[in-house]
């Protein structure tokens, strides 16, 4: 009984954006996918936007990410974008949009133009695709802004935001705090709680009443990113219609409602297509020569063993727990114990300024792969059936490059295509859809 191994077509390890996209691409092609992860919620820390490429190596903001990609790839041939190739980015974005729109959640923007969005601190951030509910906040437009917050919501401060933003922009920025019966007196208010209130038309009515009386000649009204959890489109539309002005959301401290919407949309889409999602268990894998032969899930009572034609390793690097950093300098890839490229001396992991513009050496560590994203083993030979995607790949820093979502999507796609090629079932039947 206990020596039993379950077999499936493909196993995606990791529940961040790279893993979710890979699972979606595989499911679309008729593969039987299991997505297994030791935890979830990585999207809860993100802005909910899609960063493609926002800054060059000197930290300067970029206007056109698509054309900047070629310069990036030329300068850094090991960059994940170089391995994934352009069509992977475009295809993955299209799939991403399909998944999002199935939950009635649309994104604005094109790959050839970055936008400049306000932050909860009143600074700016460069990104590319944004949910429609954020689009009107682009600071390159010169329409005057009103920033609205809630006294009981401790994760957003309109006066501070406005004071900083005013130093930056030529248009006027006013700020407004609202007191609302539905929120006052509540002590543990998280962004999600406020977002749920915004799903309620009656609550929205109260907000509209108070904002309307205090518009200060604004051309657009900004809120923290809490405009609805389950029905954001309805929430934003209602507000816009009754205020007679565009509204926009500004991402703030986690939990990120906008990130949660993306997560929920993916989960629903995958479940509807029969993808088995299993979150919450540690995984160990075994490699024999040039193949991974099984993974073992730390299930209750007795472990469960799985083997698959292909494994997508989208475990999130050091931040996601896919790579563990020990005090003796050891960097360990936590599933298959694949070799990790990076300094083996902990004093070399962080250099210079904290929160500065240079990528830190520890952010650049990862599992080396070949051009097909196949992981390289201890002898630098490829492990045929292990494909790596996302932050577990080396040579890129999502925070400094402003490229997190783009790389996750493009490499998730590429890894999925690699897994499709390896699947005996899909290849005998022919690649579907």
């Amino acid at each position: 009984m206990r020596d039993h191994i379950r077999h499936c077509d493909t196993i995606v390890i990791g529940s961040g954006l790279a893993g979710l996209l890979a699972a979606a691409a595989l499911a679309e092609r008729g593969a039987r996918v299991s997505l297994i992860a030791k935890g979830g919620g990585y999207l809860h820390f993100t802005s909910g936007c899609v960063d493609i490429l926002g800054a060059d190596t000197a930290g300067n903001a970029l206007d056109d990410p698509l054309s900047a990609l070629s310069a990036l790839i030329a300068g850094n041939p090991s960059h994940p974008y170089a391995l994934a190739r352009e069509d992977a980015l475009e295809q993955s974005i299209e799939l991403f949009r399909r998944v999002m729109s199935s939950s009635d959640y649309l994104f604005a923007g094109t790959l050839s133009r970055n936008v400049l969005m306000p932050t909860a601190l009143g600074s700016t951030r460069v990104t590319c695709l944004v949910p429609e509910s954020m689009a009107a906040g682009d600071v390159r437009d010169d329409s005057p802004m009103l920033i609205v917050g809630f006294r009981s919501f401790r994760d957003f401060y309109p006066p501070y935001l406005a004071a900083n933003l005013r130093r930056l922009v030529p248009f006027s920025v006013h700020d407004l705090y609202l007191d609302l019966p539905a929120l006052d007196g509540r002590r543990h208010l998280l962004s999600m709680d406020v977002a749920r209130c915004f799903d309620d038309p009656h609550f929205r009515g109260e907000v509209i009443k108070r904002v309307k009386a205090n518009l200060h000649g604004a051309g657009r009204v900004g809120f923290p990113a809490v405009l609805g959890l389950d029905r954001p489109r309805e929430a934003a539309a209602h507000l816009q219609e009754r205020l007679g002005l565009p509204v926009f959301e500004i991402p703030t401290l986690p939990p990120s409602v906008a990130g949660i919407r993306v997560d929920n949309a993916f989960r629903r889409w995958l479940m509807q297509r029969g993808v088995r999602i299993e979150i919450g268990f540690w995984i160990e894998g075994r490699i024999d020569g040039s193949r991974a032969i099984e993974i073992v899930v730390d299930s209750a009572g007795h472990k469960t063993r799985y083997s698959a034609d292909a494994y997508v390793l989208a475990t999130g690097g050091t931040g996601g727990g896919g790579i563990k950093a020990y005090p003796n300098g050891r960097l360990q890839e936590t599933v298959f114990d694949l070799p990790v490229q990076g300094p083996a001396d902990r004093t070399a992991w962080y250099r210079g300024e904290f929160l500065g513009r240079e990528p830190q050496p520890i952010s650049l560590v990862g599992v080396r792969t070949n051009g097909q994203l196949q992981a390289l083993g201890a002898d630098s030979r490829p492990i045929d059936n292990v494909l790596v995607a996302g932050a577990t790949l080396p040579s890129w820093d999502p925070t400094r490059e402003k490229s997190g979502e783009g790389v996750a999507l493009a490499t998730g796609w590429k890894a999925a295509m690699g897994a499709v090629a390896l699947s005996s079932k899909l290849n005998s039947v022919g690649v579907g859809k």
Binding site: H4, G39, G41, L190, M192, D193, G301
Partner: protein
């Protein structure tokens, strides 16, 4: 000298002692991994519907750092123990387990459970007392005045679903059926020696749903297995959930002794309640700190019934002689099934039935969380938690649904007003459709 924790410099016996000491503290030490990310807070079904519960991060790893003595933070009592937090935590913090232990410490400091909780946590005792008078008890529990009285005296919510007691015991039914079957087989010289499974049927089958137990026997028989019933008692989960670890340990130790012969004989111990099987597989060790070899042996041999049948299927041994069943079946995977880490075997099995359309519902928790939803101060919370699930089930328009846990089934029938079956019953429908 570079310090390497992976190869400590200390002799093996010391390392071993340290490892064991650490293991029994693994839950409290897991709180270290918390990076305050709030993912657990976003997922918690309870804190998402009520302000009475500050959330798993708050009462778990965050409050843990301040607990220098027995818990003083009473809001931990609103944790329903649904385990979503532990599963979604990206850092590996055992949040639900921390909360459970904090509650147990609180109960210990208070000197034990309230009368209500002492009763509610002993379904086996309640069943033993009620079964001889089942028709009368059921009549009374169906009376609104009686329920209102219970609510006033014991704070058991008058609206909470209380399924009727059965006046037949499952063991008695099983005994009769086994006698009949064996005499039938005696005359058949071509019948192969049957393999056996041990069935942990749990309080719910014995006192409320003996028919479910008989269906399990039927399905096993169709797959060439005789079902034997080892001696057993209540797994003790309600006591654990309410925080009475002391009494739970007694139940656990007795159960392990009773199940040991089956485990030693290499019989798979199957269970139809995913909560009970999780308790046997994991909670005896992790929460009650019972780490004996016997306990580990029993735990390794426990299988959810669908997990076991799926295993047979993987080996090509499952009887797949199903007829067509033209039915949409919304399926809810109970929290405590998800915590097994075995995927969704019920779904995998139901997909084998031609014509059947099992639909996985997108909901973390049905709300009842065992005894939680029965309490007057928590009933409304439980119903709010489950409302999204009820709505989804209703929207499928199906007259039936499926779920592996009995309290969840009762909650679904109560909240969605749709009949709910154990997946084994659906499988039997498939087998019977052939006939």
């Amino acid at each position: 000298m570079v310090f390497d924790p992976l190869t400590p410099r200390f002799p093996l016996p010391l390392r071993e002692r340290g490892r064991r000491a650490f293991e029994s503290h693994e839950i409290t030490l897991s709180a270290d991994a918390c990076i305050k990310c709030n993912v657990c807070q976003s997922y918690c079904p309870v804190s998402n519907v009520t302000d009475l519960f500050p959330g798993p991060k708050y009462v778990g790893p965050q409050a843990q750092r301040l607990r220098t003595g027995p818990s003083v933070d009473y809001t931990v009592d609103y944790c329903s123990g649904c385990t979503v937090c532990t599963r979604v935590c990206p850092s590996g913090v055992k949040i639900m387990e921390l909360n459970s232990k904090a509650r147990a410490a609180m109960v210990e400091a208070r000197g034990g459970l309230s009368l209500r909780d002492r009763l509610i946590a002993r379904p086996e005792l309640l069943g033993q007392l009620s079964r001889p008078f089942a028709p009368l008890v059921n009549l009374m529990l169906g009376q609104r005045l009686v329920r209102l009285g219970m609510q006033a005296l014991l704070r058991i919510d008058a609206r909470a679903p209380m399924p009727p007691f059965s006046n037949q015991s499952f063991r008695a039914l099983h005994r009769r059926a086994t006698r009949l079957r064996r005499s039938r087989l005696q005359g058949d010289h071509t019948a192969q020696a049957e393999r056996q499974v041990a069935y942990f049927y749990a309080c719910s089958t014995d006192y409320y749903e003996p028919q479910l137990g008989m269906k399990v026997v039927d399905v096993m028989e169709r797959n060439g297995y005789e079902t034997v019933l080892p001696r057993q008692n209540c797994c003790g989960l309600p006591l654990i959930s309410n925080g009475d670890y002391r009494s739970a340990r007694k139940y656990a130790e007795r159960n392990i002794r009773k199940l040991l012969p089956a485990a030693r004989a290499g019989l798979p111990i199957i269970a139809t309640s995913t909560s009970c099987s999780l308790t046997l597989k994991q909670y005896y060790r992790e929460l009650l700190d019972i780490r004996t070899e016997e306990a580990e042996l029993v735990a390794r041999n426990v299988y959810d019934v669908c997990e076991f049948l799926r295993l047979l299927h993987d080996r090509g041994e499952l009887n797949t002689d199903f007829g067509e069943v033209d039915q949409t079946v919304p399926y809810h995977a109970p929290c405590q099934l998800k915590s097994h880490g075995i995927g969704k075997p019920a779904l995998d099995l139901m997909e084998l039935i031609p014509g059947l359309r099992p639909l996985e519902m997108d909901a973390e928790c049905c709300g009842t969380a065992g005894t939680y939803g029965y309490k007057q101060e928590k009933y409304d919370i439980a119903m709010k938690v489950g409302s999204s699930l009820f709505t989804q089930i209703e929207q499928t328009g199906s007259a039936i649904s499926a779920c592996d846990s009995e309290t969840c089934r009762w909650q679904i029938e109560h909240g969605a007003r749709v009949r709910s079956y154990h997946p084994i019953e659906i499988l039997l429908m498939g087998y019977e459709a052939r006939a």
